[in-house]
Assembly symmetry: C2
Homo-oligomer: 365 residues x 2
């Protein structure tokens, strides 16, 4: 029944891609590779495009968000696109007073620091997002159309969203903080209000990633930037249920080939948490501090690993980088499959030619 599009004789579907095969547990002949924050400040073509446009405005401009998402695919030959956006976008669209301050990060106009403030926030029905997310859907549609024109047309787009804990940590502290103590204190002092807050965040961020999948994303990744501030017992009791609820918004969806849409979960500093992060996902991203084989042993399940070259190595001599890549590939062989990545986002100061060379090295390994 499937008819190949006429415009590209080599067209394959994203289901044939190394990335989707690896997420589903195959070991493709070549290890797939992409980089967290590959679309962003390390690329001169990105800096040029973003000049004069606010971060959150860029995310909601479909022409910009799609072009920025495609830039690293053309330049580096990575095996996946990750939709250019910001984890704060769904909060903004739900009516939260949030802006991204240069050199600071997300700043919330009125931090949510009491059970009463939580009640006022969650009075907003997350369904308000369904219409507001249209610029995100349109950005994804344009990206997917653009990807079909690159190479054999099989490069998949990963949709993404911030995890509820990370969103809640920003909402409570009002700005980035070192160890998210304000959020963790609200969690311990007012567990019922905390659950209402993170459930609301789960539905807001879940609708955000669902919109990306509806518009054509081939996989979905939940990012928990701040999970690493939590001990395991607090994570299991006060955070994992909301993360699972966020994933429920894209769980069990069928991809374009009729098979289940692959889901990925990543937490920065999740050293003690890997055993609790599976939550039914296909792949778990590993931070740079835990060797992939060690992290995989903690996961205890049949799951693909993603990661985890230390971004601090990107400034090292090439021989040092190459040896570290080979070690990451060796450690990644402990899992059923491995998607190569950094252990955290690409630093803005990174020389992009190093990233291209890493892709070539992983593909040639």
């Amino acid at each position: 029944m499937t008819t190949l599009p006429q415009h590209h004789p080599l067209h394959s579907t994203t289901a044939d891609s190394r990335l989707i095969r690896a997420y589903r547990g195959d070991r493709p002949e070549v290890t797939p590779v992409w980089f967290m924050r590959q679309a962003g400040r390390s690329l001169p073509e990105y800096r040029e495009l973003r000049t004069g446009t606010d971060m959150l405005d860029s995310c909601l401009d479909p022409a910009l968000s799609s072009e920025i998402t495609l830039q690293p695919i053309r330049r580096h030959g990575v095996d996946a696109a990750i939709f250019f956006s910001d984890i704060m976008v769904p909060l903004l669209l739900a009516g939260v007073d949030v802006r991204i301050e240069s050199g600071v990060g997300p700043v919330i106009g009125t931090p949510i620091q009491t059970p009463e403030a939580v009640e006022r926030l969650v009075a907003t029905d997350p369904a308000v997002l369904d219409e507001a997310l249209e610029p995100v859907r349109e950005g994804v549609r344009r990206t997917v159309a653009g990807l079909a024109e690159i190479g054999d047309g099989s490069t998949p787009l990963i949709g993404f969203a911030g995890a509820p804990f990370t969103l809640a940590a920003y909402l409570v502290a009002g700005r980035p903080s070192k160890d998210h103590l304000a959020a963790r204190t609200l969690m311990r002092a007012h567990p019922v209000a905390w659950a209402r807050l993170t459930d609301w965040c789960a539905d807001v961020t879940g609708r955000f990633v669902r919109a990306q999948v509806d518009a054509g994303a081939s996989a979905a990744q939940l990012f928990d930037s701040w999970a690493g501030s939590l001990p395991l017992d607090a994570y299991v009791q006060h955070v994992a249920p909301a993360s699972s609820r966020a994933l429920d918004h894209v769980r069990g969806l069928t991809a374009s080939d009729g098979r289940p849409l692959p889901l990925v979960h990543f937490g920065v500093g999740a050293m003690e948490l890997y055993g609790a992060m599976q939550l039914g996902v296909d792949a778990i991203g590993v931070d740079w501090r835990t060797p992939l084989d060690v992290a995989h042993a903690r996961m205890g399940g049949d799951v693909t690993v993603q990661g985890n070259l230390d971004p601090a190595l990107l400034g090292a001599p090439w021989e040092t980088i190459a040896a570290a890549i080979d070690e990451v590939l060796r450690q990644g062989s402990a899992a059923r499959a491995h998607v190569f990545n950094l252990g955290h986002g690409v630093p803005p100061e990174t020389d992009p030619t190093v990233l291209t060379r890493i892709v070539e090295h992983v593909h040639a390994a």
Copy 2:
């Protein structure tokens, strides 16, 4: 030969204290307890005393530093004093342009970002500290004299210093940063310069804690605030040797009772590093994210554990706090001995009456 001081009929020596006995591996009948940052902003009497005086100036005023150090002993009845100072003090005294900015933290006038900058820095002989540290010695002498007047006179003073990696991370980044990427990149890109930098930091911070011991401190703790940003291999290769070198400045010293001075090592976020942190110390402090029994199993040696109540719990209802204390005590029983503490410093917003209640609960357990 020992003559008890005349002024206090109940006088005991610090070697008899619960803290020193626990550090040395005994299990006293009552678990000793103190709090990291117990001297500081959680106490109204501290805020009153500090009004109008800069942080680093306070550290170098013997009357202030000793009084601030004694305040939590009088108020909470904790089993140890920890000398009130700042890990930046020895850098300041070695001539580094450093100040503590309110709401920011340490700021370095000229960050050390190249091998050439490292060479210029390390041209300063750490021996310049020997004279400059006199206000620290005098603060310690006054503190020790004050402690002899409290209770049975046996409360020991813990001397402290920042670990070389933490000092180097500030020197390279110039200010607090989220994951110390600038320092970790210098480490990977220029390992020889990095080793020269951290060796210099080791000798500077080592002389700082040695001065405290010479003036009467009964134990010494090395704090590595940023170790948790490192994977184990980088820690072992590029950080642990300098930490060991810092500890060498106080290793093998005899305490007032003729036995070796107890040494303690603490690293924030050290989840993956416990197996490499022993470095010949008597006790290892554990961060709030790793249960004491889990951390102790990773240490793999005959060592006392210290910690590790989650500071986020300090705002919770008392029943929640009490249950968490009991669980920490249970987990601490896995080691040869346990010194109760928080898993990180006392947050400034803490209600100090909660800390007093925790001391009473631990002592009654």
